[in-house]
């Protein structure tokens, strides 16, 4: 499977960006590659969710061990309301029903061999902060250690927003959790040598998407010599984005 670097290099050559003063540099193209990869991956995830074939998404799941914070208003530093939570270690795809979170389990590495592993035990049920009260009002659904829930929300910490996962029914003795995520890496954190993680049959649509984005960038009128931005010359033809068939693989869940 090609890496981000290989896809980017291919398109750099295809577009003629082979000199250091090319209009678009490698980082700009890499960003478009990431956009294409994210689009195709989210299509894949959504489609396989709809047809119920989760195993086709298996190679896109990344597992993490995350530390839990048990926040108490009695703490010296109050950064959030009284709750247990962890912050997502990476950005994830936004899918139906918090589908970007594949699973959450207790981290239990001391289970004797032959017993069900931790990942096969005690699933965390997805909820939302707005609906979690309904579970507390039901004796049979009330959150507890054997029936934990999670709900996502943004938490503003200082000037930054954290992608926070709040936990309900989790004992304060629990310090870490095992989570599986459909990770969408941040642009600045992409490792160019990392494989893009798409099935081979989606490489062609990916290349087409990125070249389309690059073509579009090149069709933007050139900078005027006044350095005040971009503008049209008199009578310059206004180019529009390429029309695309509804049957184009880019438009479909592949």
């Amino acid at each position: 499977m090609p890496t981000y670097d290989q896809i980017t290099d291919d398109i750099m050559v295809a577009m003629g960006y082979t000199h250091d003063d090319s209009l678009r540099n490698k980082e700009a193209v890499l960003y478009n590659v990431k956009l294409g990869v994210d689009k195709l991956k989210s299509q894949q995830l959504q489609k396989n969710k709809e047809i119920g074939d989760y195993r086709r998404n298996s190679d896109m799941v990344s597992t993490f061990i995350v530390p839990i914070t048990h926040n108490d208003v009695a703490d010296e530093v109050v950064s959030d309301f009284d709750s247990s939570y962890f912050d997502l270690p990476t950005a994830i795809y936004s899918l139906d029903h918090d589908g970007g979170v594949s699973f959450i389990r207790y981290l239990r590495n001391e289970i004797p061999f032959g017993c069900p592993p931790a990942v096969a035990l005690t699933p965390f049920t997805g909820a939302s902060l707005a609906s979690i009260h309904t579970f507390y009002q039901s004796a049979y659904q009330r959150p507890q250690s054997k029936r934990p829930y999670f709900a996502r929300a943004k938490a503003k910490i200082g000037e930054a927003y954290k992608d926070r996962v709040y936990l309900f029914g989790v004992s304060t003795e629990i310090k870490h959790l095992l989570v599986g995520l459909y990770a969408a890496p941040d642009y600045t954190e992409i490792d160019p040598d990392e494989e893009i993680g798409l099935p081979p049959h989606l490489l062609m649509p990916l290349k087409q998407m990125v070249i389309d984005l690059e073509r579009w960038a090149l069709q933007i009128p050139q900078e005027r010599l006044k350095n005040d931005g971009r503008d049209f010359e008199p009578n310059q033809i206004v180019r529009t984005e390429r029309q695309m068939s509804l049957n184009n693989p880019i438009q479909l869940d592949n």
């Binding site: 250091d20 003063d21 540099n25 980082e27 600045t188 992409i190 490792d191 160019p192 350095n227």
Partner: protein
Amino acid sequence: MITYAELKEVMAANLDAEGSERYLDVQDYVPAINSAISRAMTAIGWAIANRKGSEEALRDLTYVRIFQTNSEGGVAISSLAPALGHSIWNVLGVYAQPETVPPNALPNAQQDNVSLYRPDVAWSGSGSSVERVTLEEVPVLRNNAFLSGNEVLASNPKRVTFAYYIVGNASSTDYNSGIGEIRVLPKSVTKKSLVAISYLAQPTELDANNYNLPTTFIEFPQSMKRTLANWALQYISWKQGDGTNLQANAMRDAQELFQLTVN
């Protein structure tokens, strides 16, 4: 390379002055040839700026040297001319983090404001490309990950991009970094590091003392002999007064060659 005698021979034939003393070496030929060299430098500088230059044609003037930047990521190339043994005419390219001979050469301990020519280190090739930007672009690119030389990706060794700009003279009384300074971005990576610079050296200027020495050469290829002669003839022909056949012919010829060079 072209010698003075070769160029004079071509010019004298056009002037019909073979064996004549109507045109004298120091008084006529040398200044005209110097003017032609100057004009060639202007034309070639323009051609290089438009990526039309021929590396082959300028091989005798082309150098790649390793330099050590100061604390601002700068190299004062004009100040370093005595160490290099020649002045720098035109920077062809800059390479950050170059491969070197010996490998893994390190910067020497120096004061913050000092940039150095490193004669003990040779260029082994590659390194990272460094895009040329203008002074106005420097603040624009600083926090823009999509422009080369930004600081956003500087801490990621696999993603860092480089740019250089000519700051000229940015010295103060407390920080004298020299003249003709070029600076390589992002500064957080390039400060006090080794960079390779490919450049054209200033061609030798003829004068009364060196023009006829066997060691004096005009560092352009033989293929440019006719062009240089035409331009030199144009300057000589000015003395004959406007409107002479020689002046018009030489100018037309030179202009055609110039067009060929830059288009």
